[in-house]
Symmetry: C2
Subunit: 129 residues, 2 copies
Amino acid sequence: MTKEKNKIYSISDLAQRFDITTRTIRFYESEGLLAPKREGQKRLYSQKDYTTLKLILRGKRLGWSLAESRDLIQMYKPEQNNQAQYQKVLEKVVDSRERLQQQMNDIQIMLLELDEHEARVKEVLETKS
Amino acid sequence: MTKEKNKIYSISDLAQRFDITTRTIRFYESEGLLAPKREGQKRLYSQKDYTTLKLILRGKRLGWSLAESRDLIQMYKPEQNNQAQYQKVLEKVVDSRERLQQQMNDIQIMLLELDEHEARVKEVLETKS
DNA sequence: TATTACGTTGACGTAAACGTCAACTTGGTT
DNA sequence: AACCAAGTTGACGTTTACGTCAACGTAATA
């Protein structure tokens, strides 16, 4: 049984939940990152759209461009693809993973430097008192 | 004995080593991230400047703004600071660490999703053949 | 001495990622 | 019927992080 969360969100609803503006959400759509259903003029966001938006914002926190996130989103789409397409997807998976691992590496270095600096500062504070 | 690497770099030297343009390096200086010595007009970059630049580029790979990196660089400076200043530094350490841990978290989620998707795609490829 | 390599300071241009109006619809509520 | 809240589509403005000239200085080299 697939997750039966057929919840529908309005644009301002999503904006509140993710603490972004409706302008931002519309902008993401204009950039091809979202494609909500419509009810007349009004946009209706599904659970999938919700998940996509979460992915976008995760990407943003990691400094990924919208174009990169869009590629990732495309990659996740279960399209009627041929063998060649699937191979490309697998390559993109590898690339993304490499990028993420580079970032992990950078983070660990920065964390180490923070630790060292904190220790130094604390030592100064103690010897002063 | 402190690391006796008194190497001096020219701007184009640094540009080559880090695969960025000299324009970029000068821009970082204008934004207060670097402050190389001068020999007449020409900029001379020390080992410390080199390290600072490395920090900036690490920050960039993690999506940090130049302003944020500048703050981090400031934080690392051993200034003639008073108690209050040191306390602020410690707070900034905590903040930076939290940010980095959030990013670690995001990365792990993305890596998991990549693994799952890769498995799905590979399965399709196998059952097809 | 003339050229070339490397550097400098403006000044303006640009792409990405939105913010900020303005001028509408539209579907309920007083 | 009048109004308000929530939504819509332009269109233009803004910030960040550089790119891209242009015009010039300086030092070594042919």
